[in-house]
Amino acid sequence: MTLKTTLSLGLAAGLMVGGAAQAQTEIEFWHAMGGQLGETVNQLVADFNASQSDYVLTPVFKGTYEETLTAAIAAFRAGEQPNIVQVFDAGAATVIGAQGATIPVQQLLSENGVEFDIEDYIAGVRYFYADSDGQMIGMPFNSSTPILYYNADALEAAGVEPPTTWEEFAEVTGPALLESGIAPLAQSHLPWIFTENFFSRHNLQFASNNNGYDGTDTEIMVNHPAIRAHFQALADWQEAGLFNWYGTGWGDNQNPFEAGEVAMWLGSSGSFGGIADRVDFNFSATMLPYWEGVTTEPTQTFIGGAALFAMSGFDAEENAATAAFFDYLDSVDAQVMWHTETGYVPITTAAYAAAGEQGHYEAFPAAEVGIQQLSLPAGDYTRGYRMGFYVQIRDVMNREYSRILTGEATVDEAFEIIEAEANDLLERFAQTQG
């Protein structure tokens, strides 16, 4: 269906060029949004094409995030790159490290006369895809952050409120839910939710060099007592029946929540739309819990998801077209449409306000939780992280966390391995950067 739509859009674009003015500039956009999200991307692009007559943008679905990035890089090496490519959070270091492969979005916009003020963006969104000077390199596109979804019916039956701290979960919420005959907790992405955002939520340093933003000779600082204690607690909760783990797959962990077998699930704020379509119980969401024993002033989390990068190697006219699309994407209308259709957070404060005025959050209070969490006070280590070979580092984390939760390794052993292998990968990445 996506292919069909893409084809027909492409065809329509072709016809428009053939029939109408020859002055139209055609540009290409490679993305990784399949299914329902892909339809929304196509809609967004169609709206852009209809909003002006100078440029025609063609969206192309390229598979998963990893496949899209690999395809774009291979195309770049062959000189056939798209004008715009969607790159996910863990791939950011690869793209941003390759200076000359992309044009920083801030530079692109100002060169093409588009006003740019980083303060227009929601706090947690601003600096994840920026360089060490705070210049925005990639335009945040589908942005989400981990939040706690809960089955309101199940919590009511057990007579508890959603927890704000992990202490509360361990002592009150978890045992009460277990007592009432439902599994209390599951989550879908241990590296993202319980590692990267764990550090951000507690304002702990995740890596040297300012979380990796200031250089490539970075060392990961993942082997921290607070996170080791967290994983020890997870293993204990699993033993006691308070926490269920269904493997590394995202959906395997989300399904039991949607089936009503698990009362609370940690997932992406972007999961909101899908859950609302599928479940028949009352659900809502709240912010990611924190450990009161670690901090009494929890900080914001940062965005996950992906950003759009303008690739280099095009003439001024095509770059102007890319800038025009980015400008359109930042507009309140486009942001509100994207936010309400998909559940991803709006990236500008203006769009957030507009969605509020339309009454979106009165109808769906859970849709606002992610934005509120991204707008919490910032700390020294809450802007994100920048580490090379991060896809593999996440793979190492997933492997070792699996070993903890299947009883193959102790928490201390696992974290020593993660630290050693991640630092080895970072060192290798530094080598590839010359």
Partner: protein, 293 residues
């Protein structure tokens, strides 16, 4: 053979040229490139490239993770090859004896051959799914909690079962035609000499099937090593985690998913050498004991 068939040396070379060009472009050139890049650390965009000597190889030897994948690949290959050959042979021998409705029966047995590996993997995922899988529910009925994607060997067994299932029809077709190529007179003569069906099979039928079996052995080992990629990818859902991985899948994970071109190239060179050794061993030692008629 008459050597005078071609008047000039240029003509046969010209005839061979298309084939040689194809091999050079699709095999020698990429292989040489892989060997070269296995000695470098390269950024994905190809902007910088640093010579690192044999470091990409020494890292592999030191990596327990890589050694685990190597061990699993050996176990996986042995089991998949053994079971897909064994079951296919059994089915072929039995199908050979069927007289009524033979064609329908054989067609049904070959059907699975038409399924693409990712589709086979997807069917496997559905059968073995943690909460909804039929086989999971069956095992739960017998008191075993089967957890695909959580328990290492549970996941491994799903990969092996699906891979075997997918490969049986190919082996079946070859074994069946091999059986049908055995002359009726030989069988009748054997029947006079020996009344036991089992020993007739091992003394007469099996040796006569050996050329087919040897060919299938190579095909099956190659299948287990390389063609099961789609099945493994679907079963692990693109997230390696703590799941069992074969060497080929690791090449993909590190190279295409992770962007480590040098390390990934080193792995494919190792794989290339392993397959080369395996093939030499097979042809040198095994083939000598097989008699073609």
């Amino acid at each position: 053979m008459k050597r005078a068939a071609f008047g000039h040396i240029g003509f046969p070379i010209l005839l061979l040229l298309p084939q040689l060009v194809i091999i050079a472009i699709f095999f020698y050139w990429p292989a040489a490139y892989a060997v070269q890049s296995s000695f470098y650390a390269q950024d994905m965009f190809g902007f910088t490239s640093t010579f690192v000597g044999a470091e990409n190889y020494t890292r592999l030897i030191d990596s327990t993770n890589y050694i685990n994948a190597l061990n699993f690949t050996v176990i996986f290959t042995v089991l998949v090859t053994f079971f897909s050959l064994g079951i296919a042979l059994l089915l072929a021998v039995k199908a050979d004896k069927v007289i009524r409705g033979a064609k329908t029966y054989r067609t049904l047995l070959m059907w699975v051959y038409a399924i693409a590996p990712p589709v086979a993997g997807l069917i496997g995922v559905m059968l073995f799914d943690q909460s909804r899988g039929n086989i999971t529910q069956l095992l739960a009925f017998f008191g075993y909690e089967y957890r695909l994607g959580v328990n290492y060997w549970d996941t491994a067994s799903a990969m092996i079962v699906v891979s075997v299932w997918k490969q049986i029809p190919v082996n079946f077709i070859f074994f069946l035609s091999g059986l049908q190529a055995i002359p009726q007179s030989v069988r009748e003569a054997a029947m006079i000499d020996n009344r036991s069906g089992t020993s007739r099979f091992w003394d007469i039928t099996f040796p006569l099937l050996a050329p087919t079996g040897f060919f299938l052995l190579i095909i099956n080992i190659t299948y287990s090593l390389f063609d099961t990629f789609g099945i493994i990818d679907t079963i692990v859902k693109g997230e390696p985690g703590n799941n069992p991985l074969t060497l080929v899948y690791r090449v993909y994970v590190d190279g295409f998913r992770g962007g480590d071109l040098g390390g990934s190239s080193a792995q494919s060179v190792v794989l290339m050498v392993l397959v080369l050794i395996l093939t030499i061993v097979q042809f040198r030692f095994l083939e000598r004991r097989i008699h073609y008629t």
